[in-house]
């Protein structure tokens, strides 16, 4: 472990630790957690904490069993559709004050705070009321929950977009469509990426609640059945699958993609 003396810092031990040592500690923590769980599980009732191998087998079922895999794919489809819808509506709403400046107050001080303050649970219940227990309900509610995140992020992007760049674009042509496609949208790219990343993480946090209330398939529906049958193994398996999927998507898709966008278009 490489250690070196650094400047006086009342909050630290004044020693630096190498990245390799930190990584080893993280792996050791994961291994210790799994071992502790495995060792403790025979002594704990299964409904409180099922054994890790039972959870692993149930997680595999969600990949092998077509019926369970269908639920997983349904949730994935719900998240994808809602994320797309929230992104498009957010982009349109964020563009309104850009195209019609008189609407700035309406979007920034009325629409945005209202959407931001509206409860996710409220959207889920209203969706069931208006559309019944359908896929549309789930997609509508999740999209409504995600909308303020994309709207606020993209609006911020338009506000801080380089004014000089926009002015320069205007000096070349007065066509608004060209400005939009060639200057404004590329300048928004890092903000779009950030909005998608935030939306993706939040969508997985809320989609299960919405599916539980307004869906007849998907992970949320499966969890509702598991809850009624005291089936903690399925509960742990679904949580494990979601954590693994979101972690991998963040690490292997969104983080590299965001780095690429930032390199190409500049950081947020």
């Amino acid at each position: 472990m490489a250690q070196a003396q650094v400047a006086f810092d009342p909050l630290s031990t004044r020693k630096t630790v190498s990245a390799a040592a930190k990584s080893r500690a993280a792996h050791a923590f994961t291994a210790a957690f799994l071992l502790l769980w495995a060792a403790a599980s025979p002594a704990i009732p299964e409904y409180l904490a099922p054994a890790p191998w039972s959870v692993a087998v149930r997680m595999a079922d969600f990949v092998i069993d077509p019926r369970l895999a269908g639920h997983a794919l349904t949730t994935l489809a719900h998240v994808g559709a809602a994320l797309g819808a929230a992104f498009i509506v957010g982009l349109v709403l964020a563009m309104v004050p850009y195209l019609a400046p008189v609407m700035g107050f309406t979007i920034d001080k009325r629409v945005s705070p209202f959407l931001n303050a509206f409860s996710g649970l409220g959207w889920a219940m209203l969706a069931v009321l208006w559309f019944g227990v359908t896929h549309l309900s789930v997609i509508f509610a999740v999209a409504a929950i995600l909308l303020p995140f994309s709207l606020i992020g993209l609006r911020e992007g338009l506000i801080v977009a380089d004014r000089e760049l926009l002015e320069m674009a205007r000096s070349f042509t007065r066509k608004r469509g060209k400005h939009l496609m060639r200057v404004v949208l590329p300048a928004l790219a890092p903000f779009m990426m950030a909005a998608l990343r935030t939306g993706f993480g939040t969508a997985w946090k809320v989609v299960l609640v919405v599916e539980l209330i307004g869906g007849n398939s998907g992970f949320g529906f499966v969890l509702n059945l598991a809850r009624q049958q005291f089936d903690s193994t399925t509960l742990f398996a679904v949580i494990g699958l979601i954590v693994a999927f979101v972690y991998c998507a963040e690490r292997f898709v969104f983080a590299p993609l965001q780095r690429r966008v930032q390199r190409h278009y500049g950081a947020v």
């Binding site: 400047a7 006086f8 031990t13 219940m125």
Partner: protein, 250 residues
């Protein structure tokens, strides 16, 4: 007409127009699908006036503030742990934080109900763990950005660590504490109140769920609007003054 005034006129005018359209199009009398604004605002007023509704409103409010405080304190403690013991950095930022960030909120609700039963403590526990990754993210930035030179300069005036922490480190972390509190407060009302569905029999979200079962749509919509009102009032009269005070303290 100055631009700000015309923008404001359009904004407020559109809100009024929307309420007018709602009033004109809503069916008269008992409406299941689409209650009118009068019915809804009566139910909304009851949330803050009638004792049997007020109990639910106040229960949600104290739980949200408690869980924001707990999540912020835990987030700060974890972030400071990485500074005090750098070996824990990988554990906290590469294991605990990503898992907490991707952990579905319903997962916490069901686990909380299984492990702790239905009580106020369960709701606060669930909400705290839903909010924790957001608070940790803010304090991570704050602790990483603590100015070593400033701390060293402080140390040159007197080496008492407690004084340095109190006089330099905490004021430097104050803006991050405010940001953590603000984000957690928003997420709490937007997402974390879901804990009230299965983990308690009091709270605005519980009321909303019950109203849906009884097909009391006006009451359900009023509960949604009550959350909007509480969120905006809390932000204006608690979070903003706190941010102002901490900013001035700095």
């Amino acid at each position: 007409m100055p631009r700000a005034i015309s923008q404001r006129l359009v904004g407020e005018g559109l809100v009024l127009a929307l309420i007018a359209v709602w009033w004109l199009t809503a069916p008269r009398g008992s409406a299941f699908l689409f209650p009118g604004p009068v019915e809804t605002f009566k139910a909304l007023l009851a949330m803050f006036v009638e004792p049997n509704f007020l109990v639910h409103t106040l229960a949600s409010v104290w739980r949200v503030f408690a869980s924001v405080a707990f999540a912020s304190a835990l987030g700060l403690a974890l972030a400071l742990a990485t500074r005090r013991f750098p070996i824990t950095e990988g554990i906290i930022y590469d294991r605990i934080q990503p898992v907490l960030l991707s952990f579905p909120s319903l997962g916490w609700v069901l686990l909380g109900a299984i492990w702790l039963g239905t009580s106020d403590i369960t709701v606060v526990f669930v909400q705290t763990f839903i909010l924790l990754p957001f608070a940790l993210g803010q304090f991570r930035e704050g602790v990483a950005g603590l100015d070593r030179d400033l701390l060293e300069m402080g140390a040159s005036f007197g080496r008492r660590p407690r004084r340095l922490i109190w006089k330099i480190a905490i004021p430097l972390l104050a803006p991050h504490a405010v940001a953590a509190g603000r984000i957690c407060y928003g997420v709490a009302w937007k997402v974390a109140v879901v804990a009230e569905l299965f983990a308690t029999e009091r709270g605005v979200a519980f009321l909303m769920y019950q109203a849906q079962f009884r097909s009391e749509t006006a009451e359900m919509l009023a509960a949604c609007l009550a959350i909007v009102v509480i969120f905006l009032v809390g932000e204006r009269f608690v979070i903003d003054p706190l941010a102002h005070r901490l900013g001035r303290g700095r």
